[in-house]
Amino acid sequence: MTIGRIRDYLLTERGLFLGAGIMAVLGLVVLDFSNDVSKRLEIRSDEYRLDLGLSENREAHERIYRQILAGSITPSGELLPQNDWIRQTQNDIRTFGMQVREVTPVVEETRRGEKRTKLVLVAEGSTGAWASYLHGLATSGSQVYVESFKAAPASDDSKQLRIDMVLAQFEVKG
């Protein structure tokens, strides 16, 4: 009897509109949840494809990765404290025959809310000295790398360069 009454109510105009509203809201909730599930499925599916690819030629892959690791400079894993980093940067610049004009630490916040310190460095020197500095940075095992730079002649009639660099430290995760 009760079920019959509910059915009759749902088949009236008000009941139909109410049912439509409930179903639409439910549909939206389910769709939103389904989108999340679907995104997770996509990630899992990519992971699975990767696992499948790795499993097919496991030995070959392992060999290549070991070769990469053996022949590369691996990050030391430790980040330099800010003051040490500034000091070391000033020393490096001077060592390669360049002049430090400015070193400013800047703290930036990443999208995930993590804070990262960067150094804004302004230096002057010849192209060769600068290339040597970059070479030294590239071959050392330190975490420091050049995130961006802008090089231009120090003045109109000078062969010296003024280089604005932003230095960052590479963070190894996991």
Partner: protein, 461 residues
């Protein structure tokens, strides 16, 4: 509907509606392919029946009688409605039939037209026939297409406004608002006329057609496809009272005495359901007068609005249901994908765990190396490829996207082309010339240029 006269101004408008309106209405009604509800009052009880009409077929779905007082019969009616159609009387095309017993049918001779138009003449004759009833009945009259032997005859159909008001009120209490109110005699005459159009020859003499409704019957005397006389007969109660057959014979004899013509009874009699089938057809083709009182029109319009809203609600519900089903199917398919991947991927993940760790480390190292080496690589590539005639003004590099841009000056177009070709031949960078401007317009020798590019393997990203 030539030579038609109506006793209700509103209905007059309806019958005289423009051809286009009639066509639109007729088309709309022809689309009413579905369930028709019929109501009629007989022996102080409402008979309600459902006929399903699909194309040319008509099938009885259910029939039940209910008391006139809706307070006594509403529950039973709702049960009956639920059993056959659904919880609401809305959405059904209701046709209310009024039998001859409650109607007024008169046939009368028409005088010769002497300068008067036929409508005025017809109106005059109606007022002569029913002088005291003109304001109390909803009526309409027309001239029957008689042959020369009989002469012109008018026919008048009417139903008392009081009767209609009472019946409509009772029906409304049941939640029924008829879309068409018809008089049984007019339906049967229309049916007879329609059948006559198909017949090539017009039968001679008077024919008696008997239409039984329960224990009662309507008698129609046709001559040359026109109605000469009609009568409703109801047997008296009691054992000694004459039966229906005897009453039919007596009515036939009475007709013979009055009109001086013997009526031949048509066999077989009008079968059950014929009246309803003809009513549906007449309703669709707008062939029969609608006796609806004028106030019913407003209620009908209200009912149509409610019906429209109900249809909208139903469509919205179906749409929402479809959306919900779609969402659920998406979720189910994702869940099924997860389950399938779970069964396949979990054992595989275990087996490749070590090599995957190595891969992660190798990628991190590559990224680290790229970040360290690319700034130097940009400078080295540019210094190797840039001709001495070119002057670099500014060089910019951005690690996250592995992009660089160079602004400089060149002495002549050839040097710049040479530089671009050399850069592209390195197969490490993708470069494009973003700006090219001849500074010394007089000679066209000094060119300011801007080049941008990025590392093909994605730089440090």
């Amino acid at each position: 509907m030539n030579n038609t006269l109506s006793g209700d101004s509103l209905l007059m408008k309806k019958t005289d509606a423009g051809l286009l309106d009639r066509m639109v209405q007729s088309w709309k009604r022809s689309q009413e392919n579905g369930v028709f509800g019929f109501t009629y009052l007989l022996n102080n009880r409402f008979t309600i029946q459902f006929y399903e009409s699909r194309d040319d077929e008509c099938r009885l779905r259910g029939r039940e009688t209910f008391p006139v007082d809706a307070a006594q019969g509403k529950e039973a009616f709702e049960k009956f409605l639920r059993m056959h159609e659904g919880p609401s009387a809305e959405g059904i095309s209701w046709i209310h039939l009024v039998f001859r017993s409650a109607g007024l049918v008169r046939t009368f001779s028409m005088p010769e037209e002497k300068g008067e138009n036929s409508e005025d003449l017809l109106q005059k004759r109606v007022e002569q026939e029913i002088p005291h009833l003109v304001d109390d009945v909803i009526y309409h009259a027309r001239v029957q297409n008689m042959t020369a032997s009989v002469g012109k005859e008018g026919i008048l159909f009417g139903i008392s406004k009081t009767i209609l008001r009472d019946q409509m009120g009772s029906l409304e209490a049941y939640g029924i608002i008829p879309c068409h109110v018809m008089l049984s005699t007019e339906i049967l005459l229309w049916r007879h006329e329609e059948a006559g159009k198909k017949r090539q020859e017009i039968g001679e003499g008077v024919m008696l057609e008997v239409h039984r409704v329960g224990e009662e019957a309507e008698l129609l005397f046709f001559e040359e496809n026109c109605l000469r006389y009609s009568q409703w007969i109801r047997p008296m109660s009691g054992e000694s009272a004459p039966g229906l057959e005897l009453l039919i014979t007596a009515a036939s004899e009475a007709f013979e005495k009055s009109f001086g013509k013997k009526a031949v009874r048509l066999q077989p009699e009008v079968p059950d359901g014929t009246l309803e089938l003809a009513a549906i057809e007449a309703h669709r083709t707008i062939s029969i007068f609608d006796f609806s009182p004028s106030d019913l029109e407003a209620r009908r319009s209200h009912g149509q609005t409610r019906q429209l809203r109900f249809g909208l609600a139903r469509s919205a519900a179906w749409l929402a249901l479809a959306f919900l089903v779609f969402s659920l199917s998406q979720l189910m398919s994702s869940a099924a994908g997860h389950a399938w991947l779970g069964s396949k991927a979990d054992p595989l993940r275990e087996s490749v765990y070590q090599v995957k760790q190595l891969r992660r480390q190798a990628l991190a190292v590559q990224k680290f190396q790229a970040a360290k080496v690319f700034p130097l690589a940009v400078i080295e590539i540019l210094s190797l490829t840039m001709p001495s005639e070119l002057l670099a003004i500014t060089l910019e590099y951005h690690q996250p996207a592995g992009t660089f841009s160079l602004r400089g000056e060149a002495e002549g177009q050839e040097r710049l082309d040479e530089f671009m070709t050399a850069l592209q031949n390195q197969n490490v960078l993708d470069v494009s010339l973003d700006r090219f401007e001849a500074v010394d317009a007089a000679t066209g020798q000094v060119i300011v240029f801007e080049i941008s590019g990025f590392f093909r393997d994605g730089g440090g990203s």
